[in-house]
């Protein structure tokens, strides 16, 4: 076990080892998250490289885990992974670390945008990649890969044009296979078009015959 983890666990007895094959990793209770990360920051791990969440799917307990990777700014490549489980599956709340790293601002906004995890104490928690008012959290496991049809963000334009965001616009279209449907040649008549081929019969020429053995 690395020195940083020994020191960390001496200070925070509730922290437990997280199975890891690459970097020192630790699981902490969600209540101690800010204290642990603050301690790491003050002991040299002052770069918050990455912050993200994992959704362990509906019905799992715990459902959401937040994972932080911190690194030394004096020498790159020494990481510590800190993970914490959210208490609630329906209304996940995590304390914000924007007070420690202003750079955590966008990471937490992205995490909220994609998973619906609320960050307590975040100065301006709103969506960042999707538009304001988008009704879903796309990286949750129950959200389908093809997407879900939604109205466009601008209500006035939507009312006038009737336009909407169509989920998976290519689905069922030419050259797109979907399970349980007809094969591509039937779905796409253009695939049978042989007008481009030099094997098609030329005017005034006998059709080519299939040669059998």
């Amino acid at each position: 076990m690395s020195e940083v983890l020994t020191a960390l666990k001496a200070k925070f007895p509730q922290a437990t080892d997280r199975p890891s094959s690459d970097h020192p990793a630790v699981n902490v209770p969600i209540g101690e998250l800010v204290a642990v990360l603050g301690h790491l920051r003050d002991t040299g791990y002052d770069l918050l490289m990455d912050m993200t969440a994992i959704d362990w799917a509906e019905g799992a307990s715990p459902r959401f885990t937040v994972v932080y990777h911190v690194m030394r700014s004096t020498k790159g490549g020494d990481y510590v992974r800190v993970a914490a489980n959210c208490a609630s599956a329906t209304d996940p709340v995590v304390p914000s670390v924007v007070s420690l790293w202003p750079g955590a601002d966008w990471h937490e906004r992205e995490c909220y945008d994609m998973f619906g995890i609320k960050f307590e104490g975040h100065p301006d928690l709103r969506r960042i990649l999707m538009w304001d008012g988008y009704p879903y959290f796309p990286l949750r496991k129950e959200f389908p890969l093809a997407g879900i049809e939604t109205p466009l963000p601008d209500a006035e334009i939507t009312a006038e044009t009737g336009a909407k965001v169509i989920a998976a616009p290519m689905q069922g279209g030419p050259f797109v296979a979907s399970p349980g449907e007809v094969n591509l040649t039937d779905a796409e008549p253009r695939a049978k078009d042989e007008s481009w081929s030099d094997r098609r019969p030329q005017p005034g020429q006998e059709p080519l015959k299939q040669v059998k053995e």
Partner: protein, 408 residues
């Protein structure tokens, strides 16, 4: 005799606060030449000075992380091209190494050397593009033309190696798409030889250029503490004096064999970031020359990983066992153990990281892409405030970001 104009009333009225002033709201982008893609800045202006800047992202959001959860590891390689699309080879390498770390797989020396060479070439081409665009932003057209001529030569070499100029998809988990063609390394070497004098010429167009210096020196200063607090990486952080370069600090893909210096700025203004990029290209050439000089032989893919890297194509069609191996690999994907891995590589734009959670099998359970452009842009609301609108153009040019990577 020249008439002297004066407006005695104005100063007095201004001091007394009799003029009505109101702040103006201005939207820059998403389609604006200086936003290098589809970034939108919602700015609040007091005259010409920014009082607030709110970047609006997401115009290029494609849900790469969601897509990754739904396909095998090798199928995701083409998606990594489209992260930082100005340096696809570097992204390919970072992704491949991340997955190999998960499988605890070490690729042979030749494969590592090829990857390092392609990554350094990608760095040069990315910096050339960044430099050219920065030149245009600050009113220097010629630099752009010079840079694109050189970049084109690199793209010819990429095409010869991978079959594609732009979206290369060159790496596979445990190896590469193919070995280098005959005589290719010699042509890379020839490129390096002719590139250095031209690079000096390009940099000489800007380095002591009065207009360029007026636009960049002391503009957009990022302190070292700010660079760390906002998680800046790459040339943007090194311009502010942060010395992190993962190729040096935690070498991967054989970088420990090569001798090179890490240029670091002192002040952290736009001019420092420009200088760092210029010097980095020279160091990349140094690495390229060393890598080519000691270019190792041997296999170019991991030969001992049957469930991860496919058999040679000529054997697939002639031998039963290889056919089955190929079939299993294509249908089920490279087989990975359960666990989690976080790997970061020093890309041209900064540190690109992949966090992969696996439950075993050929598909990741969760993949997070830590994109350098996203983190580098997060300092904008702080950096732009107090600057002129025209300085924002310089600042954006000096940050050298790519929205494909920022929005993922």
């Amino acid at each position: 005799m020249a008439t002297e104009f004066s407006f005695p009333d104005t100063a007095a009225k201004n001091a007394a606060g009799e003029f009505e002033t109101e702040k103006m709201s201005l939207s820059m982008g998403p389609s604006h030449p200086s936003t290098h893609g589809v970034l939108r800045l919602q700015m609040e202006l007091d005259g010409e000075i920014l009082t607030k800047c709110d970047p609006i992202l997401g115009y290029l959001h494609r849900g790469d992380e969601k897509i990754a959860e739904n396909m095998t590891y090798n199928q995701f390689v083409p998606y990594t091209d489209r992260l930082d699309y100005l340096a696809p080879l570097a992204n390919n390498m970072a992704y491949a190494i991340a997955v190999e770390r998960l499988a605890k797989l070490e690729v042979p020396a030749r494969c590592q050397a090829i990857r390092a060479i392609t990554a350094e070439m990608a760095r040069i081409s990315s910096h050339l593009m960044g430099l050219g665009a920065f030149g245009i932003d600050t009113g220097a057209w010629t630099v752009f033309m010079y840079c694109f001529t050189e970049r084109e030569k690199l793209y010819k070499l990429f095409e010869e190696l991978t079959g594609a100029r732009f979206t290369t998809s060159y790496t596979r988990i445990g190896g590469l798409q193919r070995d280098v063609p005959e005589g290719w390394t010699a042509r890379v070497n020839a490129f390096c030889d002719q590139f250095l004098p031209i690079l000096d010429e390009i940099l000489a167009l800007l380095t002591r250029n009065k207009i360029f210096m007026d636009r960049t020196v002391d503009v957009g200063i990022i302190s070292k503490a700010d660079a760390i607090a906002y998680g800046l990486t790459g040339p943007n952080a090194r311009g502010s004096g942060v010395t992190i370069d993962l190729r040096k600090d935690k070498p991967y893909s054989g970088y420990e064999q090569y001798e090179f210096d890490v240029p670091v700025g002192t002040k952290g203004d736009c001019y420092d970031r420009y200088l760092v990029r210029g010097e980095e290209m020279k160091q990349s050439v140094r690495i390229l020359k060393q890598a080519i000089a000691k270019f190792p032989g041997g296999p170019w893919y991991a030969t001992d990983a049957k469930r991860i890297f496919g058999p040679p194509k000529e054997k697939v069609m002639s031998s039963m066992e290889e056919l089955i191996q190929n079939f299993m690999l294509v249908t089920e994907g490279p087989q990975m153990p359960a666990g989690e891995v976080y790997f970061e590589a020093e890309n041209p734009k900064g540190i690109l990281g992949f966090y992969i959670v696996s439950k075993g099998g050929g598909v990741p359970y969760r993949m997070k892409i830590r994109s350098p452009s996203f983190c580098n842009l997060s300092i904008l609301p702080k950096l732009c405030v107090g600057n002129l609108v025209s300085d924002v153009v310089s600042i954006l040019g000096s940050l050298d970001f790519v929205m494909g990577e920022c929005d993922r």
